[in-house]
C-alpha cells in the first residue's frame, strides 16, 4: 500500500471572502506549474481543500515540491482505502511509519457514513492496537502525540491522513501584483525577493551590470539566484542595465563622499522607469536598517527622494544572521557568497557619507546632467528570462521568433 494523494490546506487564503475563488485558482495553477515534471499528477479542488492525486508519481518528490508553493498552510499524505477493517489497519500503519521518529500517536476517527458498523470511539482502539502490535517502544498519547492520524469513513471510502507537513505559508504568487526586485548578487536581495513572493507578489528583477568592472560571472550569479527564486514562483525576467557609463561619470564628476548615495539614486530612477514600462507598481530592495552606509535612516531618506514608487523592504528590521538563515533555507546563500564583484562593491568610496542629505545630493547632481545617460542605459538594457528549468535571453527569444517568421 502507498499514499495515493496529498491533502493541501490553505493558510491565510481561507480568509479572503469573495476573492477566495481567484486565490484558489491561482494556487492550483501554481501547484500545477511546480509539478510540471510529474505529468501524471492531477489536482482536485474540493470545499476548502485541494488534493494532489499522485497517480503513481513519487509521493516524497511531489510533497517536497508542493511545500515550496506559497499559499499553502500545511500538507499531509492521504490514502483512500475500502471501508474494510484490514485495509484501514494497514493504512494507519503506513501513516504512522511516515512520521519517522514518532514515539507516540493518537488516532482520531470520524464516521460520516453511519452505515459503517463500527462507531468512531470503538475504531480508535482497534486501529491503534494494530500500530502498537507492529511497532516497538511506541505508545498512545491522546493529549500531546508526536503524530495524529486522522481516519474518515465516508460513503465513497475511507480516508487515512498522516502527519502534517508545513507548507510555504503566505499567499499564492500572482495574487497581489508584481514588484521589481533590485537584485545585486549579495545575500540580502534574494531573501528579500523570496519574502516578497511569499506575500503573493510576482517579481521581475533589475540588475546593474558594469563590465569590465564586473564580470560575466557576476551576471551568471544573478541568473542563478533568480533561478532559485523561480522555484518558489513563476518565471522571473531580469532586466540587465549596463551601468558602467553612469558609474564612471559619477566617479569623475561627483564628490567621493556622495558618490555612493548618488549611484543609488541613479539606480532608483532607472528602476522606476523599468517598472513603469512593465506596468509594475513597486520596487523591492534588500535594505536592512543600519547594515551598511547606504542603509542608514539619512541615506534611505536621501536615496528615496528620487522615486515616489512604494519601496518594499522586507528585511528592514532583520538581523544579518536571520537573513543568512533564510538564505540558507531557500538555497541562495551558497550562490550569493561566490566571490565576484558586483556593481555595489566595485566603486565603493573609502569614506561614504553615512548621513547624506537631500539638499546636497540635489546640489551635486545639478552640476551634471544624467538624463541622457539614463536614457542610454535603458535603451541598451536587455531581458533574461529565467524559470526554474531554463534561462533564456532576449536574443534567444528573438531567434525563436525568427524561426517562426
Amino acid at each position: 500500500m502507498n499514499f495515493d494523494r496529498i491533502m493541501i490546506r490553505y493558510g491565510e487564503m481561507a480568509l479572503k471572502g469573495k476573492n477566495k475563488k481567484a486565490f484558489e485558482q491561482k494556487l492550483q495553477s501554481n501547484i500545477a506549474r511546480m509539478l510540471r515534471k510529474h505529468p501524471e499528477t492531477t489536482i482536485q479542488k474540493t470545499q476548502g481543500r485541494m488534493f494532489v492525486h499522485l497517480n503513481g508519481e513519487d509521493p516524497h518528490e511531489v510533497m517536497q515540491k508542493c511545500q515550496n508553493v506559497f499559499g499553502i498552510h500545511s500538507l499531509s499524505f492521504t490514502v483512500k482505502v475500502e471501508k474494510e477493517e484490514e485495509q484501514m489497519k494497514e493504512a494507519v500503519l503506513l501513516a504512522f511509519n511516515e512520521a519517522n521518529d514518532a514515539k507516540s500517536f493518537k488516532i482520531s476517527s470520524k464516521r460520516t457514513d453511519k452505515t459503517f458498523p463500527i462507531p468512531s470511539q470503538e475504531m480508535n482502539p482497534i486501529l491503534g492496537g494494530h500500530i502498537l502490535r507492529n511497532t516497538e517502544n511506541v505508545k498512545v498519547d491522546v493529549h500531546n502525540p508526536d503524530v495524529e492520524i486522522k481516519v474518515e469513513v465516508r460513503h465513497e471510502g475511507t480516508y487515512v491522513t498522516a502527519q502534517d507537513y508545513p507548507g510555504g505559508g503566505g499567499l499564492p504568487v500572482g495574487t497581489t501584483g508584481k514588484s521589481l526586485l533590485m537584485l545585486s548578487g549579495g545575500i540580502d536581495s534574494p531573501v528579500s525577493g523570496y519574502l516578497t513572493m511569499k506575500r503573493g507578489v510576482e517579481i521581475d528583477a533589475v540588475h546593474f551590470h558594469s563590465p569590465p568592472y564586473t564580470s560575466e560571472r557576476a551576471k551568471q550569479k544573478v541568473i542563478d539566484l533568480a533561478q532559485e527564486l523561480a522555484k518558489y514562483g513563476s518565471k522571473i525576467n531580469i532586466h540587465v542595465i549596463p551601468f558602467t557609463g553612469i558609474q564612471q561619470k559619477i566617479h569623475r564628476e561627483m564628490p567621493e563622499g556622495y558618490s555612493m548615495t548618488i549611484m543609488r539614486r541613479m539606480m532608483m530612477r532607472i528602476s522606476e522607469k523599468v517598472a513603469s514600462k512593465e506596468n509594475i507598481l513597486s520596487l523591492t530592495t534588500g535594505e536592512s536598517l543600519g547594515q551598511v552606509a547606504s542603509q542608514t535612516m539619512e541615506s534611505m531618506n536621501t536615496i528615496n527622494e528620487v522615486t515616489n514608487y512604494p519601496i518594499v523592504r522586507p528585511l528592514v528590521s532583520m538581523d544579518k544572521l536571520e537573513i543568512i538563515d533564510i538564505a540558507r533555507k531557500i538555497g541562495t546563500y551558497d550562490i550569493s557568497i561566490r566571490p565576484f564583484e558586483d556593481c555595489c562593491t566595485v566603486f565603493v568610496p573609502k569614506a561614504p557619507k553615512t548621513k547624506p542629505n537631500r539638499e546636497k545630493a540635489n546640489y551635486y547632481e545639478s552640476n551634471a546632467d544624467f538624463t541622457q545617460d539614463i536614457e542610454d542605459a535603458l535603451e541598451e538594457s536587455y531581458v533574461i528570462e529565467v524559470t526554474a528549468d531554463h534561462v533564456k535571453t532576449n536574443q534567444q527569444k528573438d531567434d525563436e521568433f525568427s524561426d517562426l517568421l
Binding site: 518565471k235 525576467n237 506596468n279 527569444k397 528573438d398 521568433f401 524561426d403 517562426l404 517568421l405
Partner: protein, 379 residues
Amino acid sequence: MIYLDNSATTRPLPEVLDSFQKAADQYYANPSSVHSFGSEAERLLERSRKQASSLLQVDPQEVVFTSGGTEGNNMAVKGIAFQHQTRGKHLITSRIEHPSVIQAFGALESLGFEVTYINVNKDGKVNLEELKGALREDTTLVSIMSVNNELGTLQPIKEIGQILKDYPKIFFHVDHVQGIGKIDLPIKDWGIDLCTISGHKIHGLKGTGALVVQKYVSLFPLLHGGSQESEVRAGTENLPGTVAFVKALRLLHEDQIGKSDHLRTLRHLLWTSLKKRSYCQINSPKDGAPHIVNFSIPGYKPEVVIHSLGEKGIFISTKSACSSKQPDVSTVLKACNLDHDLTTSALRVSMSYQNNEKEIEKFLEILDTTVEKLQQTMG
C-alpha cells in the same frame, strides 16, 4: 496532379504550416492580455508587423493585419467613404475590379454615394484620360487594382499615383492581391495611400492578409469592439495566422528575387504554345502579369473543358473563383468589349513559382486531346 489555379488560392508551404502550428501551440496567449505570456504574444505580433513592414517598405504602424483580401478591400473602400463623407460622397473605381471592391462600391451607392466606373480598353487597362476627367472636388477615393485577377492586366498604377499627386485630398487604394510577389509596387514612391494584400495567394493560409494604411490616413472601422490594430480592426488578433502570413511573405520575397525569371519563362512557353493552336484565342495582354494567361476556346462551355481537364488531374479555372459560380459571361471580359463568344468561353491558367515547364507541356498536351475529344462529341 498539375495545379494551375494559383490565382484562386495557393498551396501553403510546409514551412508556413510549421510556423502556424508552432505559434498556435507556443504563443496561444491573447496579445492583449496583461500577463507576461500575453506580452510575449504581443512581442511576436509586433515582430511580425516589423518584418512585414520592412518587406513592404512601409512603417510598422502602417500594417494592419486582416483576414484577407476581401476584408482589406472592404476596409479600405468603406473605411475611406464613411470617414470622409462629410467632405464628399463621390468615389471612383474601374469596371473590372474584384467583386470585393465592386460590390463594396455597389453597397455604398445604395447608401447615397456616387460612384464613377472607369472604362477599360481591349486589354483591360483603365483609360487614364477618362479617370482624369472624373476627378472632382468632392471625390474622396480612387480604387484601382494593380493586376487584374482574370486577365493579368497590369494597371498604370504609377501614372494614376502621379495624376493624384495634384489632388492631395483624394485617397488612392490599390487592390494588390494578385500583384504581390509578382510585380513591384513601391507603395510610398507611387503615392499609394492604402494597399490590400492577402496571405493565401502567396502560399500562406486562408484567412490572413494585411491592409497597408499610410500613417496620415484615418479610416472608419468595419469592426468595432477593441483597440487592436490601431483601433481600425477590433477582435483578438489571429497571431498564428499572421505569423504564417509574414513567413510566407518573406519566403515569397526571397523567391521573387531568385525566381522571377522562372515565372516569365513559364508564361512565355504557355503563351507561344497557345498562340499556335488554332482552336484558342488568347485574351490576356502580352505585357500582363507573369503568372496569368486567359484564353478562350470559342464554342465550348468553359465548365465542360474544366471538368474534362479535371478528370486528368489538371486544375485550371474559368473566371475568378469568386465569381465563377455565376453562369455565362465574364463581366471583366465584357468590360473589355470582347466578342460574346470569347467572353462566354474564357479559361484562366494561373501559375506559381512552384510550377515547372514539364507541367506546362503536359497541360498543353492534355488540352489538345481534350479539345479533340470534345470536337468529336460536340462539334
